[in-house]
Amino acid sequence: MSDALFEYLCRLGDNTLVLGHRVSEWCGVAPVLEEDIALANTALDLIGQTQLWLGLAGEVEGKGRDADRLAFHRDAWEFRNLLLVEQPNRDFGVTMMRQFLFDAWHVDYLKALTESSDARIAAIAEKSLKEVTYHVERSADTVIGLGDGTEESHARMQDALERLWPYAGEVFHADAVDEEMVKAGIAPDPSSLRPAYDARLAEVFAEATLTRPEDDFAHKGGKDGARHSEHLGHMLSQMQWLQRAYPDASW
């Protein structure tokens, strides 16, 4: 059980870590100042949540690894994040579409986790949910604003949706770790969140004048670490270089 719980907590923490790092890549180079600040704030929330999730993961594992150790001293194949969150930023439209596809799931998943049989997980979910409620409000608004914007912004958002859609479905696929969490009352069945997700997307895409791709094919291999995309390794080489070059450096 503690092995599965460790795996599970790494999934939660790696999602927020990898997406938080991706979003932080915009710091200082976003299209306008307000968006730069909003992206940096979102990244900060996600990294903060990472500290809680990976901190708990290290505690559960009981081998003396803390959040820093897990974040900076594991290699790509040990990461358990969704393929969606490791996809590169590309343009602002792709970044915000990726954010919306993640937030729309994240907010409902955290809501469900506040009922977790594990009080530590419920507490982190309760804290994170308040922050993520703001994230999804903004990402949905931005998807609508750009989708139903100019010809150029509409085309870019439709492209972004088509590019990212094959990565959106992985999160609803349950494996042995999920099943064990469901059995213990720790987490909801991943597939149970799909109807609410689809409904939220339908509403936002209608307002954004965007068309959801028909094919729901979903790539897998992120959350179990079996097959990350090449992008993760490149991201980690940037994120981890200091701790790899100077192990345990601190200031």
Partner: protein, 192 residues
Amino acid sequence: MSRGAPHIPEAGHPRRARPAPAPVPGTVADAPAPAPRGTGHKPDIATVWAWLAGVPDPEIPVISLVDLGIIRDVAWEGDTLVVTVTPTYSGCPATSVINFDIEKALRGHGIADLRLERRLSPAWTTDWLTDTGRAKLEAYGIAPPRPAGGPQHCPHCRSTEVERISQFGSTPCKAQWRCLSCREPFDYFKCI
């Protein structure tokens, strides 16, 4: 990413006395003089709360940590003073500074045996901001949070003609708004 309680040296460990931080006006007038070190004297809980009410928030120094509502409990466990703190936002960089400031202030008042605990649940809510804190925010130019989800009026000219610029601002706890009457941008303390 270091978290949790700061390193607390053992009681009696020789260290230089640090001065207490500048008090927030109107909150620590009744605080007694620091107790002498090493006498085993345990100040009562109300006194410790009064001391903490003198510790300013590092990002918004016009309000104290008590005004902010993040000090959830103060208690003696034997000879150890335990202060329970809840974070405002999980990634707020001020959190570690806040822990440091609490430790510094209490040590300045002669508390040698001290432990800080983090409490996540119930999660911090802006409902815990004190009325004094709200008034101080507004006087400082930050519109206080309201359940309605936006400021009541511009903190500068009191006009109700205001609009949101962004749900995110200069710190995780604030959003950016602007006044359509006096044209001044201002911070709004987000309701969570």
